[in-house]
Subunit: 274 residues, 2 copies
């Protein structure tokens, strides 16, 4: 009953016999453990996080539900492999619009080997992260009565200028006409909108010294149909994902993540202001 | 009438015929223009900043007064050289306690040449910046009835762990007995204390996209005698200094500076809490 997710904007994809995540029809998302120790590192994070009393209850909603691990048939046909069992963020959203935003001007940890850092620095030079403090990893936007989904090339969105990122953030909450920002008040604004949620997350990052979220993404998900009906909270969700490089905070706040988060908040605020 | 400043904790020093800053007896500080284009870059910043209408008036007090440039006899005896004329931050403070805190986990700009970045990365590895988001560049603390000034070696303070930085921040506001934090409420706390000032600065950095303050320091200055008398504002001052590497913000907040500033704020808050 497992199948490749319909709405994936970043990360490895389960298609043409490649290894990637799977979903079932009960709202679960199965993420195969990545190689090179990253999978076990991510599992260790989920295990630590799910039982850490230092994480306040209201912060847990910014993380995917964690249901342990399960051996399932891998998408690449290589047999039974351990998978993380997580909540499926697009479950019961028929037409989800999604942004995957990798947070932090630096996507590597200072204590990593020189060669690895050199490789990352080279990659970073080809994307928005050093300049903006974050980069778009992938975007899809449901353009209701028009062409279905707008889903620009991943490589393209990773290397946008500040002005271009501003345009994508506007288009993400627009109706068919590009950049009318029709849905900005419902999606970005209001007490349950993206800006409020990001500010709540920011308040935690100003205090918490438990984890450093290196190379993590924030997923922004909403459904235009649900938003259009004017329901609150309009189906807006913010989740942190990808914990293969989370480090011990060692008594210091995650200034790299927080700086990038503040930069993203400024961009979202600017859309709401204009 | 010019002489080397008595209370300098970081930067080049005018002693033994070397080039360094000078002060006069009217409260002015003369900073010789640094070579390699850094001096003219810093002058360009002061000129731009002093007339930039985007800088709110209440933020100007976080920057040294700028009185243009003047040709004065250089401290190294090399003749008349152009100097920036700035306010002397220790003027009329008989026994100033001073911290020079270089802000940002990264002290180089992403667009600088590869070789320069490699050199900076190597230097950064030997100091606190990547881990803490800032580093102490220099400290002096007036220990009233004891030994005069406590002034640890610069090289030593640049490479402290989180726990050690916490200890220095406590000692900086303590009476003779180390770390009693007797002056913490007067210096770090209250409406005119360091924490309030840093929070005000932070609010600006969450918004401003005009400048990126690469490799800048925050100077924290107070006078224990003045603080002891219980006057408000207890002579506490916060100033940004060293603008040889300021860059155009290009529509993005200075996430590198802001992240480090938030980390420093967390450290100061922790001293006030315990």
């Amino acid at each position: 009953m497992l199948k490749a997710p319909t709405h994936q904007v970043a990360g490895h994809q389960a298609q043409n016999g490649k290894l990637g995540p799977l979903v079932d029809d009960s709202g679960l998302f199965y993420k195969s453990l990545q190689d090179g120790g990253r999978g076990s590192h991510e599992l260790a994070f989920y295990t630590s996080f799910s039982s850490n009393p230092k994480v306040p209850p209201h912060i847990r909603r910014f993380f995917p539900e964690f249901h342990g691990t399960r051996l399932v048939e891998a998408s690449d046909g290589s047999g039974l492999l351990p998978h993380l069992v997580l909540g499926d963020l697009t479950f019961e959203k028929p037409n989800p619009s999604i942004m995957d935003i990798k947070i932090g001007s630096r996507t590597w940890a200072p204590q990593q080997p020189k060669d690895y850092i050199a490789k990352c620095l080279k990659k970073d030079r080809g994307c928005s992260s050093p300049a903006l403090g974050f980069r778009l990893e992938g975007v899809q936007m449901y353009a209701a009565n028009e062409t279905g989904y707008w889903k620009p090339e991943r490589k393209l969105v990773q290397n946008l200028s500040a002005a271009e990122v501003g345009l994508v953030l506007r288009k993400f909450v627009s109706s068919n006409t590009p950049s009318d920002c029709l849905f900005a008040p419902a999606i970005y604004g209001g007490p349950h909108g993206v800006l409020s949620l990001l500010l709540e997350l920011k308040a935690w990052f100003e205090e918490q010294t438990v984890y450093h979220f290196c190379a993590c993404s924030i997923l922004v998900v909403y459904d235009k149909e649900i938003a259009g009906r004017g329901t609150v909270p309009a189906g807006v969700e913010i989740k942190l994902v990808d914990f293969a490089h989370v480090l011990d905070g060692r008594g210091v706040i995650d200034h790299n993540f927080l700086g990038g988060l503040c930069s993203l908040i400024k961009f979202i605020s600017d859309v709401l202001r204009t």
